[in-house]
Amino acid sequence: MRALLYSARFRGVIYQILVVSAVFALGWYLVNNTLTNLAARGIATGFDFLGREAGFDIGESPIAYSAADSYLTALTVGLLNTLEIAFIGIVLATVLGTVIGIARLSGNWLVARLATFYVEAVRNVPLLLQLFVWYGLVTSLPNPRQALNPLPGIFLSNRGLKIPVPEAHPIYAALLAALVAGLVVAWAVKRWAVARQERTGRPFPWGLTGTAVVLGLPLAVFLAAGAPFTLDMPELKGFNFSGGGTLSPEFAALLAGLTVYTAAFIAEIVRSGILAVPYGQTEAAMSLGLSRGKTLRLVILPQALRVIVPPLTSQYLNLTKNSSLAVAIGYPDLVSVANTTINQTGHAVEGVGIIMAVFLTISLALSFLMNWYNAKVALVTR
């Protein structure tokens, strides 16, 4: 018994059990206290409200939605809007951030100074303020009746950007299938080419071949079907344009704000990643006779990515979470829709719970994906 008490290992286990039970007890107390007090005040709890008719409209929605749909559908619309802005924002911020990051390392004095100015100016101004500026800019465009019309069918007004979109046609499903088939073929070609090069040392231009297949297959299908193509043109009707595709001012302002802001951080991450690879690596690659492009692609980038990916993940998470600032400028994201839901139903605890659960899930999924990618680009040690 005594021996057991003096055993560091045993005491360690006891401490851990104590800590875990304390955490659980605290959690149980909070939940229980909330439920008791909500019941004592006669406030209904539970998630039944999700099935009730929402009764409010949403400005933009990727799926069909009307006020007669349920709160669950409304929240789904909000979630899809959040995912849409996060996905497009991440792609654009990565591209812009990489360009700015490389520009900061440029030998050209002006380019490097401009990039530095961009990073310092954008990083140090609160995002909410930037969103208001973007939204102010977008809404100060002329009204629909005096819309700018730079190209036929394209209208820019304070109601957003209106563009012609191709009308729905069964051929588009076939095009998508062709695209997927092209991607599969390209992937197979790359595998085969890499394997052959490792075996025989003879390279194969798989990049060029792959691109040709991915673009060529859908094009061939499209031409074979007789190239059916009609455009749905926007036209001014009553208060606003009808027909065509829309980029709403709220979406545009939020996207611009998130992209420009996050790109400044990504630029610094990219710069640090590239600087982290010693110049000796470049010299060594060149002395082996690799071209500039191959040096960058095969030697510098794989090593730089190991430094870049982990902090990049946290920027992606930041961008996703920052998208909840959408409420300030009227983009109907998850938080905005959930806010309305909370106010109409009075289910504040459940509503906030849903917001937290959704953002946690998105963040964990994104982080899992990036960790997997990180493991893939990490230096393989044998």
Partner: protein, 340 residues
């Protein structure tokens, strides 16, 4: 931003549990601490807005002051908690405030599922539309396909959807959570119309439009908005006090008792006036208050008509008509049960 505030409110709800779990004792708690904690709008001209010295005024503020006058005989014993639309119900539910007088519409679900009790409407409002004069729109029915600016966190969004659905029209909402940002978006032309309670539209037009005469408020009202002070469920004595404080102001107007003549009225021979002013005792005891409770309200806050004219009526910037808010004897809805 609002997400954080909602979070904070939710946490507060969690934390407040241990402190004020007992129901039915708001009156005792208020007497013990010596003031009424009243939730009001962050700033809505005519209803509750602070001046440059931090003094609050408005119709809702007067409702709070009337309760303080009834309880303490001193209308200044009230502290104001400015609340956003989203914060207001949790703040009341959690016990942070004793009374919510924040242009809150009385609805069935709020009165029941949210654990609240509505007292007496202090303003009968209705949701309307404001449009730029140059659109030449004469009626809300012409707004098919319009983009409409609307605040979240109220019954406004739902009313709008209901009305457009009922009339088989379509619209696109632009939902921005802050009054000023939404007004800025509307006045920059992002929306064809701005929809809110008619009294708020008048306030926004008077205070925030670059040129008020460029905007009209359409005559159509698409909803009923009885704006009503609220208390928590299961606190009947407190609800009675809040309710009758409001009735005292209405009864005062019915009987012609004003803040100026209330002292002369003490000698009135009208038995109802004597009962209102506590010359004939009984009503105060029944409510658990001093017999001078209604006298204090009328002396320090004034009757309903005085409060209306000062805050939202012809002598204010809003210049609203009495309309539904006139006494029943003048064709309105303001009516006090007998003080017996």
């Amino acid at each position: 931003m609002k997400f954080l505030k909602t979070m904070a409110a939710a946490c507060l709800l969690l934390a407040a549990g241990g402190v004020s779990a007992q129901a039915g004792t708001t009156f005792d708690a208020v007497k013990a601490k010596g003031f009424v904690q009243c939730g009001v709008n962050l700033g809505l001209y005519g209803f509750s807005s602070p001046d440059d010295k931090g003094n609050w005024s408005g119709l809702d503020v007067d409702a709070c002051r009337a309760v303080a006058a009834a309880v303490f005989g001193d209308a200044s014993k009230v502290k104001f908690t400015p609340l956003s639309a989203q914060q207001r119900l949790p703040a009341l539910q959690s016990g942070e405030i004793d009374l919510l007088a924040r242009n809150t519409t009385w609805t069935l679900s709020r009165d029941t599922a949210n654990g609240l009790n509505f007292t007496v409407p202090n303003y009968y409002d209705g949701q309307g539309f404001m449009v730029p004069t140059k659109l030449k729109v004469k009626s809300a029915k012409e707004l098919d396909g319009a983009t409409i600016c609307v605040l979240p966190g109220t019954t406004t969004e739902q009313n709008l959807s209901d009305w457009f659905r009922a009339n088989k029209l379509t619209f696109k909402p632009v939902v921005i959570e802050k009054n000023e940002e939404l007004a800025a978006a509307f006045f920059s032309g992002r929306c064809d119309a701005y929809s809110s309670d008619a009294s708020q539209l008048a306030g926004i037009r008077a205070n925030e439009a670059p040129k008020p005469e460029d905007y009209v408020i359409l005559p159509d009202l698409i909803s009923k908005e009885p704006l009503t002070p609220v208390v928590r469920h299961a606190d009947d004595q407190w609800a009675d006090i809040v309710r009758w404080s409001q009735f005292a102001m209405i009864a005062g107007e019915e009987k012609g008792i004003t803040s100026k003549n209330v002292d002369q009225m003490l000698t009135s021979l009208d038995p109802e006036v004597k009962r209102i002013l506590g010359v004939t005792p009984g009503n105060g005891k029944a409510l658990g208050l001093d017999e001078k409770w209604a006298y204090s309200i009328l002396k320090q806050v004034g009757n309903y008509g005085e409060s209306f004219e000062l805050n939202v009526g012809k002598s204010s910037k809003l210049k609203l008509d009495r309309g539904l808010n006139a006494l029943y004897s003048n064709g309105g809805l303001m009516y006090s049960p007998p003080f017996k």
